[in-house]
Amino acid sequence: MSIRARWARVWKASPGRLGVAAAGLVALALIFGVTGVATVRRRAAVVTEVATVSGPLNTRAQTVYRALSDADATAAIAFLAGGTEPADLRQRYLDDIARASSALSEAQRDADGEAAPLLDEIARELPVYTGLVETARAYNRQGVPLGGAYLREASAHLRDVLLPAAQRVYEVSRSRLQDGQREASVFPWVLLLLGLALIAALAGTQVWLTRRTHRLLSPPLLVATAAALISCLAVTGAVSRSASFVDAGRQEGSADAQLLAEARVTALQVRADEALMLVARGDGGAFEQHLTEAFGVSSGLLDRAGRESEDRQDITEAQQAAANWMLQHQTVRDLDAEGRYEDAVRLATGPEPTGQIAVFARWETEIDQALGAAQGRFDERARAARGTLRWADVSVILLTVLTLAGVGAGMARRIGEYR
């Protein structure tokens, strides 16, 4: 007997049709359940990755980048103080190196792909940099100009090798974070459609059965329908809420944080340029040019952050401090050009509350505050996104089992009635 003929016979007899319907419902329920569990697990994995790996990795890359830039500026300012540098500047430099090394080794643990070899390079070259800085210091203490040459070489090594690698690591980790965020903020359309299909199939089967057998609705099938409905609502709801938290975390948190972190790191470079221009003693034209460009970049980033961020107050104050700093930098330059080098150095590195150090501290602190707030928003949304997914997979499993049981019981009874 041909397969088609056998199917025709099964289909002709009511128990056969019921059996096919039951198998279809079971298959649909299983597909929905498996897809639901897989989606929830996948989302949970991505959201956890965003919250606990790529988010922190991005922050660590930021820390490396920032600490190295700060070391550059601090070493130059300490150098300008002459043979015996102020203890607090020395400490700040040492802290920068410690922070960079420590964030570096933490980042190496989580990094992969393009970032890993870059982090290796930073790990290899950082001791070369610190060695040059110490050589500069030793010569500076002996009172010979050779120290300045070593400091410039150190800074060049930092800027040509270490900072570009740190910047690249930061960019790579940022796009990894963004990819995760993008993946975790998609609405679960497939899941919703599967759920709706299952519900429709259940409803259709019951309508068909009721018409055919002129009997009342079957309670087990009603339970199955209810379970499918709840399951569909719960799981798509949880996934889509988590998606919107992730999206909010990006828009209100990490996007601002990235702009602000970049603004701060360029600000640190601007500050290093001023000090290095003074260290170069007349050969500093290149630093001045870099300073002007970096200041433009930093201001641009702050402006963008100011338009997009919630922390307008802090950012406005950071912008004001930046403008003051630049104004005063003109004075530093003019003093240096007039040959009043000592006065220029004092204005750039002195402890006076109106000096460049204090103005810069204000600039940096305001950015830091806005950055901290943005970072906090990111962390909070990421936590919420993880929270909504908790138990979602378990409830999908339970409700799917319930749906299957209902379908099984309901259909078995109808099929039994033909025996």
């Binding site: 070489e153 050969d283 080098y341």
Partner: protein
């Protein structure tokens, strides 16, 4: 279909909670990257051959006219009167040349032989050695700042050459030097003959870098912004020798006892004070001041104050004037 299989496999792997185990990698050969100072050119940019300037006697400058005017009373309409009007003499100097022009890290003050020379000229104009504004410039900037009028004079071990006489004026010679070599002690290098195919450093825009290129043994020139950067490169083993005038080499050697000056002088280099073309009155005036310094012992006093590490003070270079 294959896509679906892949996707299924990926989902299963995710559900299993593990990725592929990374293969053990053989340890790669790791080597340090050598740091370089800013703006090092290795090898140096090829230099256009020096245009042959009209023949001249580079040491000959303009003769002073009569006695020096009293400080603060410069002849009307003269360049010096303009400087008095301004209140300060602007001098282009080096801030990184140990013993010549450098910042004493203890006091933060500019010090050195050339700084004192600048102050001596300010004293002759104003009666006040401090009425001077020093401006640090690079080797390559010496002529441009004079041409732009950014400074009144340049005192920065500037070699008097016929080529440069086309662009600027020079005073009479205030220091004689010869181009030699600075090498690491025990390197076995005794002269340029030992440097064929090896790296020799000098500053960009200097006469020294040209001379390195011209050596028959064929050394490879490496240029930097400052002679100090050359010493850094020498200490780090990135060049085999530094070659510039012996007085600057001595200033480098004074900062590192591991180096020594070797080889015969390959040039005679008179250093003169650079003055813009056209400011002939200032040239004559500065030559008057130098003349006085030579005869009244000021030159010797300044030399001994700074340059004793180079050896005992020689007689000041004799002034030569155009007839």
């Amino acid at each position: 279909m294959r896509m679906r299989l892949l996707a299924t496999a990926a989902v299963m792997m995710m559900l299993a909670g593990c990725g592929p185990v990374p293969a053990e990698e053989p340890e790669a050969a790791v080597s340090a990257r050598v740091p370089v100072p800013v703006n090092v050119k290795d090898p140096a940019a090829s230099l256009s051959p020096a245009p042959s300037p009209p023949a001249c006697v580079p040491r000959q400058s303009l003769r002073p006219e009569g006695a020096l005017p009293a400080p603060g009373r410069m002849p009307d309409g003269s360049t010096m009167a303009e400087i008095v009007q301004r209140g300060r003499l602007r001098v282009g100097i080096d801030q990184n040349a140990y013993l010549f022009g450098f910042r004493d890290p203890d006091t933060g003050e500019l010090s050195g032989f050339e700084i004192d020379l600048g102050k001596e000229i300010a004293r002759a104009i104003f009666g006040d050695a401090e009425a001077v504004q020093f401006r640090a410039i690079t080797t390559a900037d010496r002529i441009p700042v004079l041409e732009r009028g950014d400074v009144d004079i340049v005192i920065r071990t500037m070699t008097m050459t016929c080529e440069r006489w086309q662009q600027v004026n020079f005073s009479t010679e205030y220091l004689t030097s010869r181009q030699r070599l600075l090498v690491n002690k025990g390197s076995g290098i005794g002269s340029f003959d030992d440097l064929g195919g090896r790296k020799v450093c000098a500053t960009a825009g200097s006469t020294s870098i040209r001379k390195i290129v011209e050596q028959p043994s064929g050394p490879v020139p490496v240029s930097t912004d400052s002679t100090l950067d050359c010493l850094v490169l020498l200490q780090q083993g990135q060049v085999d020798a530094v070659s510039t005038i012996d007085v600057l080499l001595a200033a480098l050697a004074a900062q590192d006892r591991g180096t020594e000056i070797v080889g015969p002088g390959i040039t005679e280099e008179p250093s003169g004070i650079g003055i813009p073309l056209g400011d002939d009155d200032l040239v004559r005036f500065v030559n008057g001041v130098l003349e006085r310094a030579r005869t009244d012992g000021t030159w010797k006093r300044i030399y001994e104050r700074w340059l004793l590490p180079l050896g005992p003070a020689p007689a000041p270079p004799a002034a030569q004037y155009r007839t």
